[in-house]
Amino acid sequence: MTSFSGNGFKNLSINADTQAMLEVARKRGIETVWDRLAKQQPQCGYCNLGTSCRICAMGPCRVDPFGDGPQTGVCGADANIIVARNLARMIAAGASSHSDHGRDILETLHRVGEGKTDFYAVTDSAKLKRLAAEYGIQADGKSDQAIAKDLASEMMEDYGMRRAKLPMAARAPKARQEIWEKTGVYPRGIDRENVEMLHRTHMGVDNDWVNILLHAVRTSLSDGWGGSMLATELSDTLFGTPTPKMSQMNLGAIKADQVNIILHGHNPMLSEAIVAASQDAELLALARKLGAKGINLAGVCCTGNEVLMRKGIPMAGNHLMQELVIMTGAVEVMVVDYQCIMPAVTKTAECFHTKVISTFDKAKFPGAEHISFDPARALEIGKIIVRKAVENFAKRVPDRVFIPVEPVPMMTGFSIEAILGALGGTPQPLIDAIVKGQIRGAVGIVGCNNPKIKQDLGHTELTKRLIENDILVVVTGCATVADGKAGLLVPEAAEKAGPGLRAVCRALGIPPVLHIGSCVDNSRILVLAAALANTLGVDISALPLAGAAPEWYSEKAVAIGTYVVGSGIFTVLGIAPPIFGSPDIVKLLTEGLEGVFGATFAVEPDPNRAAVLIRRHIEKKRAGLGLSAVEPEKIGMPESELALA
């Protein structure tokens, strides 16, 4: 048997709730993501290596990685060109996903400016004014609504072709911007870079693989310093900039005695309206009449992260939990917006009373009921959906309800504004702690779940190894749920940190692992890194920082990793991207980029080894800044134990 099946559920996940629900799946004969992965074995080696090309109809083509069979596609593209084109298209798809999400938020701001909404408003007026100043908009004496209209109109240009440079990229240190200009990757327009990427990777356009990959970096930067950053900033403006608060995590977020609505996807627009609708007196009364104690919301994936950060709504699980939450038998409605929603959820829902409701016209799911989301009637639609959930409570089969665990507490809400607030308004105390060596550096652990890695093992082990060694960790997306369930997102987790980080956390009353948001909120990492670099007057690549995506699966994660490296931050991937078919590209991404962007990628699935790579990198950067540093080679690398037990 492969590692994906057999040997019990303990091999599939570190979590008790996942394992309990997999037992339910086995008993009831319900298929899960792990079963489907096992059925896909062996997965095509050409595709895994990145040397299959489906771009044109002279193909499909593949290059023999052993060197004896065909070495070029029909057009003559070799492994370098094919791998570069495939990787570039992954990055374009990922960047497009974040940026189109940002566009939806921007259109909502525009709608607020025009007064065409029953629900949305400017919540963080101060942030609106800061953004207006950044975009050169005269705000004096204007109402928030008028500023929103002008700002939205100006930001729409970020998506077009009029700009030579994206305005928010100017937040990066001067030295970083000079690197972008010198290498020709300064992002101009969000849609422009993505469309140009698709053009360049058409047969017979860009065939210089380095040139293809440079534009892929530019495309990713238009996401990190464009689409994603815009999504974060405007979601804060509309729904409130997050502040620290306590919440809960795991399947216990679903309540046996309440109407349960699962919020799944990535965009907070509809979920914010559902949060409001779930407090409607008439709907609450109806719920009580039907025997429920109340209306409970719980998040999955990044929609969950969005409402967790701003509203403290608990999260039921991360990516690999999406089918399993339905198997509790206590979910009346799963509302989905877009991204990372497996088409399988509607099949799972068929086994229970659960209704899956799709909401965005760009994301429909066979087997789901579609309620077309219209931001002009957001609250009205929110109420329609909540009503459906309440009415469906009557169809719940009590014997089938099984919620295997009690929820774990966690702390959320660490926007950059909140982090700076905790520090007293400036990054200086954080810098001082780093200079003194109390905190060696900071690492962003981000990205998805992937059933190829035991669920949450990569996230939690890496986090533990880093905080033990006095490295502050910030988390987004699925990593949040992993670390939250493991009890690492509470101030008491300072006990698990090294002495330096522990003292800082105790003094500030914060956890050693800070939840900073959803996957578009990885842009907050860029903002924090830029603020630290600007305070010190150095480039981001000089800082003792690193990124890690231990269990990534999606194209969006490839875009994130690329903009993080393109911004000067060393990044370790736990899953290999499809590039091994081109030794030249592996060498470029793992070594060559150092000389171009001052940062590289590494691939290391073992979190204990990844932690050592990161610690060595951080000590190297500390030495570069003239701070106390350990010789990187003195940090021992654990053996890679490849033999099977």
Binding site: C44, K454, D606, P638, E641, A645
Partner: protein
């Protein structure tokens, strides 16, 4: 004796041998038409995953001699082809679907499916026929033709063993410095990809190990 010789270390699990096999045993002999046929043609070669990620073995009838399946078949429907005595064939019309051949097959490569050639039967025993139809036209087995990494080779067994043996002797000679290791080594990128797969597998099996 002509056979399909497998080099499992070269198989990268693309399963093109499976689809080529199914097409070769279809009515239309065409990928895009074959997927619409009823009954759907089935592969008789099976690239199944190995113990660690990124490994696979294309398993098929080895055409044993003596063949255990022939020995136990109660209707004697499994016979050697008269014109190609190296090939063990099943006469679908005489098969009674008793399952005896599948039980004794040392390689577990006999499966039961509907067959267009035997429309009167619900399912019959199906296995590799070494593409005897193609061989009669001077072609080799479809799986071998489809394999772009030379994990499958078709030819006289002793010649194929000799060439594998030669590679082995070259590998041994590396120890005494007679040829460069590159002659026999897998490309470094493929080795790295396999090592990565093994690392993931190991990680999942022993989460805590390596601390």
């Amino acid at each position: 004796m002509k056979t399909v010789f497998v080099h499992p270390e070269r198989c990268i699990g693309c399963k093109q041998c499976e689809s080529a096999c199914a097409i070769a045993h279809s009515q239309t002999k065409n990928l895009f038409m074959a997927v619409f046929e009823s009954p759907r043609p089935k592969p008789r070669i099976h690239a199944e995953p190995g113990l660690t990620l990124n490994t696979a073995f294309p398993n098929k009838c080895r055409h044993c001699d003596p063949a255990p399946c022939m020995a136990v078949c109660p209707t004697a429907c499994i016979q050697r082809a008269i014109d190609y005595p190296d090939i063990v064939l099943i006469d679908a019309h005489k098969c009674i679907t008793c399952g005896m051949c599948a039980m004794v097959c040392p390689f577990d490569v006999i499966t039961y499916f509907p067959l267009a050639a035997a429309p009167e039967r619900a399912v019959v025993a199906v296995k590799c026929d070494h593409c005897i139809e193609r061989q009669r036209k001077g072609l080799g087995p479809a799986c071998v033709e489809s394999c772009k990494v030379y994990a499958l080779e078709f030819g006289e067994i002793n010649e194929l063993v000799k060439s594998a043996r030669t590679r082995y002797s070259e590998a041994v000679s590396v120890a005494v410095g007679q040829v460069s290791p590159q002659v026999t080594a897998l490309p470094a990128n493929v080795e790295a990809w396999r090592a990565y797969g093994a690392a993931v597998t190991h990680l999942n099996a022993n989460g805590k190990k390596g601390v």
